[in-house]
């Protein structure tokens, strides 16, 4: 089964592929720099104690992203 959703719908342990970065501004740059381009595989590895931010395994590194930013990242599970 495959469906498009935003990154913050990913639960810990789930893997998805980036389809589109709708996010703008400096954070978009930052995400591109760490290799989050189209077709990149991301795995949600956990959420912080307060539930936000969440951590993702992206190209071998673990990166924490806040929920406001995650919602503008479209992925396919």
């Amino acid at each position: 089964m495959s469906q498009n959703c935003s990154l913050n719908e990913l639960n810990p342990g789930e893997i998805a592929v980036v389809k589109e970065l709708k996010i703008r501004g400096s954070i978009r740059r930052r995400l591109l720099d760490i290799g989050l381009v189209k077709d990149t595989k991301v795995e949600c590895v956990g959420k912080s104690p307060a539930g936000d931010p969440a951590a993702f395994l992206i190209r071998g590194a673990v990166i924490a992203i806040r929920s406001e930013d995650m919602k503008d990242i479209v992925v396919r599970i």
Partner: protein
Amino acid sequence: MGLTSHSTGMKSVDSGLNVKKQNPKDKIVAIAGNPNVGKSTVFNNLTGMRQHTGNWPGKTVANAQGYCKTEKNSYVMIDIPGTYSLMAHSAEEEVARDFICFEEPDAVIVVCDACCLERNLNLVLQTMEITDRVVVCINLMDEAGKKGISIDVRAISDKLGVPVVAAAARSGEGLAELMNAVDAVADGRWDQKPVKPLYDSCLEEALKNLKPVVDQKVSGRFPGRWSALMLLESDPFLLLEIEQRLGTELREDPDMKQAVKKAEQILSEDGTEDLEDRIVSGLVKTAQDICADTVLFGTKDYIKRDRKLDDILTSRKTGYPVMIGLLAMVLWVTIVGANYPSELLSKVLFWAEDRLAGLFLNAGLPAWLCSMLFSGVYRVLAWVVSVMLPPMAIFFPLFTLLEDAGYLPRVAYNLDRSFKRCCTCGKQALTMCMGFGCNAAGIVGCRIIDSPRERLIAILTNSFVPCNGRFPTLILMITLFFVGTGDGLPASIGSAVLLTLLILLGVFMTLAVSRLLSKTVLKGMPASFTLELPPFRRPQIGKVIVRSIFDRTLFVLGRAAAVAAPAGLLIWILANISIGETTLLCGFTELLDPFARMIGLDGVILAAFILGFPANEIVVPVMIMAYLSQGIITEPGSVETIRQLLIHNGWTQTTALCMMLFSLMHWPCSTTLLTIKKETGSLKWTFAAFLLPTAAGCLCCFFVKNMTQLVHYIL
């Protein structure tokens, strides 16, 4: 290796990036790399310097330079800021790019993390777009080995066309080969042709069209392909800089205008995709191709270990308790560990005082001079060494161990939600943690926060966490007035718990004041940010302990001599010069007394805080000195005698509590303020940084004092 004398105190005020050659023939080598790949470790190992290293991204914020000699050449090594990219979207990236582009280094070492090489190659490829003189250093090979990652270094070198060296900089492995490769590149003996990243066909076509025209205009001063890219990107500042260096108006040239137009036309043909996206995709895909058959991942067990640790350290149930527990444990070890050496040192030092004073008197020195030297200078020094130094020397390495292991970014991860509620950046938690070591270092560390508004807030609130120089004051107050001086386990645990609560109050105040600022003078929404959670690393325990005790002990001793001795002298003079009936000291403290009593202190305590402006370590020693000089007790000695002395001077638990609160919240020390002035470039904000904690401290103390009075009145 923890905060060192290079990263704390006055030396944290760095002086910008000016290459200083020792010899005109020195060659320049820039060390670039992603954040947290061991750049500083490579730098330290090559230059023999002790730049602060730690396991969190962005901690090298000040530029460092050092010197390194090989058989063939001597080099000035420049540690440029760690960046993910050279596209200049932040101050660090701009500094890094401009250095590589305009300072024309003889070689650029790009340090990579073997554990995520693919992502690191992004920066390598961008650097190679600007210069051919690149040496790739794949660091942390030892960590990668443990994780079952194997890397075919030679194959990568062949694919990139530049030297690639495997290294494990912490143990010095591979650094000799690295310098051989640097020699080869700097001397022009490297004969392979460096590759360029391959972008999508459309962009490549556009570049192919534009490059010949650009080549002609820049005539070898700048790489043609890169200049063509920059023209298409049209970053006005960079282009202006290039034009100034070339002495021609590149963009105004008619041929150039036409060529750029043509290239833009080609680009627009295949859709609307953003140029930067194209470039980044090209870089990422090239890196992916290079790593496809050269980097092999073995088992995935390593990820499991890190995930398990993260589950404990950052999960909903255990994240906060473990964090507070770790803090309490570090404090407990500090308190217990400092107890014995502290007693011993004070016995030895005060035993020596009597003997030495006697000796000097017998030698025929005038009595006033002996009194000045021993009751003044020596005593304050002795207090600093015996009471303040042991907790500092123990807390520091413990904190450094946590930092080295990679725990601090987890703290930021755990606390980000709270900081977001205050409209600030989670990275502020990192700078706050640094503040525990030294507030000045914490403030320099605020450069890792990208948003200027959030950085300013982090700077203004940094001194709400007690620095290493204030811990001993807090510990002493707790020991003297709240848990007793008993040696037992309950006493030490009680002290640790109280101290932890006090620090949590400091963290709470940091958040509260940040929120207040965000809602008033520094209004704004929380900016987006990403936080990297680096892999856990086993800290080099032995090295950390030796290094930080040495650095720290020497540093504090040095500062004690520089600040405490004159302060002791000043106190002695004030206490011994009289105008009319009272001494100057009495006059001064009496002047402060009415206000000090309003906030639960007394004139002497407030005077000690004022005289302790150069360094918080001397507040308690100066205070004790001042009490002693008023002649209530003449024989100083153990902790118990200090307690007696304070009680004789009218101290109660309320006084001690107010003293702790005021120690937690008062003006930052002079070094910290200087750093703030330097970082903000504004007297107004420096003044705000002075006023905020002072006002908060006065209010808290006023409140506590009056509440306890009220309670006493009612009861």
